[in-house]
């Protein structure tokens, strides 16, 4: 039958609204160019060329986004035969991803903090002398593959948040995941744990992708389409077996939750956050979360809103589990990066409250939260890169004792970021929490919100513990040094702190953007 069908209908290229998808095309196209740079440019010039290309790409993508936004229909459009939806939430998420990607790129590009960068091609054992390492830095030994990989991951994330059918979404998921698996392992020459993290992330990620794919298959069986809107239509008036629908939904959600590191699907998070080179952790922690929750919001709102009363109870349980796993296990951590990882699990639970509210305020609150959380996280990891001993970052908490005495500015910045993560007023973290909790209460989820509040208090304890360590404890005699941040790291941290402060004090403008409109159907 199939060949006959093909013969009957001439294959027509779908109409593409190039203006709308320009940011996407720019980022992915630049990724390809970047690969060519890697192949043909001499080693000495690569770093400069790649950095320039990446920065220009992000700026150009941002610019085209802004240009499109001016005349964009407020209801949003779908293009490429309905595979991509460019609506207000997608545009907001694209902007968020580009901005966070830019901040993370600054951290990645920095070659001065970790001598010769995290991304080196050759083994550099811990006893390598400073001179050797400096030499590496001078000869530009940095593995610049990280730049095209970052661009591809970013392009995948942007597609992920705008995908209007499950197949596109799956492909985007792979496009964003594969570069990330590689990036996590890029510090393997420095620290073996990086290799372990990459393998773990890859195996578990592949497993989660399989879940997603199975869910997709079941839903296709149910609705005879992979389009989100068709699934919603099928659910409203059919006599199909609900087993397919909810089986599919369950498997699909597991795949999405995995990417968003929502507990209990979070098990990779601490290991990977700890093992990955810190700039990559910053990129992942901020951008992957945005992409995953963007997709969760779209899938839940567009495809499954009509059946929300049937699945919401389950997601209540997931949100509670996530908040408590994050908050309670975070208490026991002794490594800063692992602690932030568990904090991200708790934050995923808070985000989920906003995401399952399925109201206008729930949507705008979650979008705002993602932006705010992303910048705070990038800046926090930026600070983590600066506290070092002779053999690398001193991420063990005990070595942070008394940091305020040696470098008061750094301690103050980190304290501010921790307070933002804890959700203290006048930081963006508070406004974000307030918005999702408001949405939750408005939508009749007051008990869930109260659980969230208690989890917030528990989580506040481990943030406070770090502040106590930095300010009230005496420094260890052979403690870490705080290296002078390079211009790129300084810029990234400053950007993150400023956004955290401004969004905390004056959220109205960004809140207006986040609440600009709903999903295109």
């Amino acid at each position: 039958m199939a060949p006959l069908l093909l013969a009957d209908t001439a294959v027509q290229a779908p109409a593409i609204n190039y203006g709308a998808v320009a940011p996407l095309l720019i980022v992915l196209g630049a990724g390809c160019v970047s690969v060519l740079f890697e192949a043909f440019l001499p080693r000495q010039t690569r770093w400069g060329a790649q950095l320039t290309l990446s920065v220009l790409t992000l700026l150009a993508a941002g610019l085209s986004l802004a240009l499109y936004l001016k005349g964009a229909p407020s209801g949003g459009i779908t293009t490429i035969s309905g595979a991509i939806a460019v609506d207000r939430p997608a545009l907001f998420l694209w902007g968020t991803l580009l901005a966070l990607g830019f901040a993370a790129l600054l951290l990645i590009a920095d070659r001065t903090t970790e001598r010769g960068s995290y991304f080196v091609a050759h083994n550099s054992p811990a006893d390598a002398s400073l001179a050797q390492r400096t030499q590496q830095a001078l000869f530009g030994d940095m593995q610049t593959e990280v730049f095209p990989l970052t661009l591809f991951a970013l392009g995948g994330m942007m597609t992920f948040t705008a995908a209007n059918d499950l197949l596109t979404m799956f492909i985007a998921l792979e496009v964003l995941s594969l570069p990330l698996y590689l990036m996590v392992g890029m510090a393997r020459r420095r620290r073996l744990i990086s290799q372990e993290a990459a393998l773990k992330y890859f195996l578990l990620g592949a497993f989660a992708s399989a879940f997603f794919l199975y869910g997709l298959a079941l839903l296709y069986g149910y609705a005879n389409s992979v389009k989100l809107s068709d699934i919603a239509n099928a659910a409203t008036g059919t006599s199909h077996s609900d087993a397919l629908l909810f089986g599919g939904l369950g498997l699909l959600v597991v795949g999405l939750m995995f990417k968003g590191s929502v507990g209990p699907f979070h098990t990779w998070t601490p290991d990977v956050y700890q093992g990955a080179p810190t700039p990559v952790t910053a990129f992942m922690g901020a951008c992957t979360k945005v992409a995953a929750f963007g997709a969760i919001l779209r899938v839940m709102t567009v495809a499954f809103k009509v059946t929300s009363w049937e699945w919401r109870g389950v997601l209540w349980a997931v949100a509670i589990a996530s908040m408590f796993i994050g908050a309670v296990l975070g208490l026991t951590q002794t490594d800063v990066k692992r602690m932030i990882a568990y904090s991200s699990v708790a934050h995923a639970g808070f985000l989920l409250i906003g995401a399952i509210a399925l109201t206008h305020n729930g949507l705008s609150g979650t979008l705002f939260y993602l932006l705010a959380y992303g910048f705070t996280t990038v800046a926090a990891f930026g600070v983590v890169t600066l506290v070092r001993t002779a053999d690398g970052e001193a991420s063990h908490l005990s070595s942070w004792a008394g940091l305020a005495k040696r470098s008061p500015l750094l301690a103050a910045v980190f304290t501010f970021l921790l307070l933002a993560l804890a959700g203290i007023p006048l930081t963006s973290g508070f406004i974000g929490k307030w918005l999702v909790f408001s949405a939750g209460i408005e939508d009749g989820m007051a008990p869930l919100v109260v659980v969230g509040l208690i989890a917030s208090t528990v989580a506040a304890f481990f943030y406070l513990r770090v502040i106590v360590l930095m300010y009230f404890s005496d420094p260890a005699p052979d403690g870490p040094t705080v290296s002078v941040p390079g211009p790129f790291t300084t810029a990234a941290i400053t950007l993150g702190v400023l956004v955290t402060l401004v969004l905390g004090v004056w959220p109205a403008v960004v809140l207006g953007w986040a609440g600009g409109g709903g999903f295109a159907l």
């Binding site: 203290i424 909790f437 919100v449 304890f461 406070l464 009230f472």
Partner: protein, 543 residues
């Protein structure tokens, strides 16, 4: 944020209230820069705090007790889409708090002049944090937007956290106390936030537009069904019960007071905890009148337990700072009874108690600090017979003790009497039980005075465990133990006299002539009671 233009004050062009809030903040920032010159830092801080006191007096005199409930108000949009405003205003109750805080801060700074800070801490940081603290608490009392109130309520914790954790007692204990303080208050605050959001959602469902404006919330939410009110009431109640603190939410207070420097402790019991009682009056009663009446027995029971339990534990303390903390818990119980008895006398009593407690307990704690500076210990058993060596200090301690036990003629008496008199009308059982607290107060105060001040010279403070007087025998034995003790321990110096003098004057003045205070407070209390549905007899309360 277009505050300066948006905030204007009816009658006068200058935004005095905003100045009251921003001035100490400015002072705090400036003082923080004088890290290397402790003397300059201290002088700048005290000048700022004195000017601030003057500013609060200006606000006091531009307030017309007979006028509108909220005066000197100003407002600007903050997050317009959620109806969040940046708005301030004062009523009589808030006004008293502002003036009290304005007056207490220079005293606290003066008392902390020679504070021995932990190694590596600068006086500039200490005084700067105190000024920032003052600014934030001023703003908390003046806020007329519930969201803004919450924000300040939480932010206020941060300087306090650093004051306890960074400048407090030795070692790990102070970190423990600081974190405990923070987490207790943070949890309470978050529950309040949930309730505030609930109020917002309720207002939105009734009027169509959500707002956090206090006046609107009061108008709309006070007519909500009882069930809704009770849920919303609980969130606010937990926040304020932890802050006040009512038993069983009180355990952070003794730890925090014990580990703080004395000046910070005065702030803690004298000012910060008042936010709890103030919150009951300003938020719980007017916003949730039906819930307040329904749940009044619960609060009364907790308050009376607080009075008795606090008193008994106070009697059992050997650490004098913890003693003051438990005394405060007992007094907060009295205030709780006053607020939730819903008569105008009891309410006026509770409000004036808020002020008088700051003066009397503040003075008690300051004197305790002065004793400890001399004997290098906060343990009561390390002292004995101090009155012989330091008569002036002993006199001040005795006076602070007398006002703490509410002797007639001191300031606290009027308040405690009004609370008991008023609550006896509606809640005789609780009033009688609380009266037992007065008897216990006499017990714990007089017993402590007796242990420390009277009898023979003894204790580690004088370098001996045995009584010094009467020790004879052996060649070269102390022939003049009193003289030796006097050479070791001196009486109040000029600075300390200056610090205590205003408190002594206020104790006696308000003890004999409380009318000006009552005149300011009465109308606002009347308005609060009217909102709960209790009719107010104009002649009541003004006695």
């Amino acid at each position: 944020m277009n505050i300066s233009t948006a905030v204007s004050i009816s009658g006068s062009g200058f935004p005095w209230l905003l100045a009251v809030i921003l001035w100490p903040l400015l002072g705090g920032v400036i003082v923080a820069f004088f890290k290397n010159d402790a003397r300059l830092a201290k002088l700048t801080a005290i000048v700022f705090s004195l000017v601030e006191f003057a500013l609060t007096l200006v606000v006091l005199f531009s307030y017309h007790a007979s006028g509108a409930r909220i005066q000197l108000a100003g407002s600007a949009d903050w997050i317009a889409s959620f109806g969040v405003h940046f708005s301030f205003g004062v009523d009589g109750i808030a006004l008293i708090m502002l003036v009290m805080l304005g007056g207490l801060t220079p005293i606290v700074l003066g008392a902390s002049w020679q504070e021995k800070l932990p190694e590596g801490r600068s006086m500039a940081g200490f005084f700067s944090l105190i000024l920032v603290m003052e600014a934030l608490v001023m703003a908390v009392f003046a806020a007329t937007d519930v969201f803004l109130f919450y924000v300040l309520f939480e932010i206020m914790l941060i300087p306090m956290y650093f004051l306890i954790g960074g400048y407090g007692g030795p070692g790990l204990r102070r970190q423990y106390a600081a974190v405990k303080f923070f987490l207790y208050s943070f949890l309470g605050g978050l529950l309040m936030l949930a309730s505030a959001i609930g109020c917002w959602a309720y207002v939105e469902s009734v009027t169509g537009t959500g707002t956090f404006d206090w006046a609107t919330l009061t108008r709309v939410v006070s007519h909500a069904p009882l069930g809704t009110q009770i849920w919303l009431f609980m969130g606010f109640f937990f926040a304020f019960a932890i802050k006040a603190p009512l038993v069983p939410f009180h355990t952070w207070l003794p730890d925090a007071v014990q580990e703080s420097p004395v000046g910070v402790g005065v702030f803690l019991v004298g000012v910060l905890d008042k936010v709890g009682i103030y919150g009951f009056l300003r938020y719980c009663l007017p916003m949730f009148p039906d819930a307040s009446k329904t749940l009044a027995p619960l609060v009364l029971v907790l308050s009376v337990i607080g009075v008795l339990y606090g008193s008994l534990l106070a009697a059992g303390q050997s650490d004098m700072k913890r003693f003051v903390a438990y005394v405060s818990i007992a007094h907060f119980g009295f205030m709780g009874v006053g607020v939730f008895a819903f008569t105008s006398q009891s309410e006026v009593g509770a409000v004036t108690y808020m002020l008088n407690h700051s003066i009397s307990t503040g003075m008690l704690l300051l004197v305790v600090g002065m004793i400890a500076v001399r004997g290098r210990s906060f343990k009561a058993e390390d002292y004995g017979g101090m009155a012989k060596v330091t008569p002036l200090l002993a006199g001040c301690f005795f006076l602070a003790g007398l006002t703490t036990l509410s002797l007639p003629g001191t300031n606290s008496f009027i308040s405690e009497f009004l609370v008991l008199l008023g609550s006896y009308e509606t809640q005789p059982v609780y009033a009688i039980l609380a009266t037992i607290g007065m008897v216990l107060a006499a017990l714990y105060v007089l017993w402590l005075v007796q242990r420390i001040m009277t009898g023979p010279l003894r204790g580690k403070a004088f370098g001996a465990d045995e009584p010094l007087v009467g020790v004879t025998g052996g060649p070269g034995a102390a022939t003049d133990p009193l003289g030796r003790a006097k050479s070791m321990i001196s009486d109040l110096n000029g600075r300390e006299k200056l610090v205590l003098a205003p408190m002594v004057i206020l104790i006696l003045l308000l003890g004999f002539y409380p009318k000006p205070l009552l005149d300011v407070v009465n109308p606002s209390v009347g308005a609060t009671l009217t909102s709960v549905g209790v009719s107010v007899d104009a002649n009541q309360g003004g006695n």
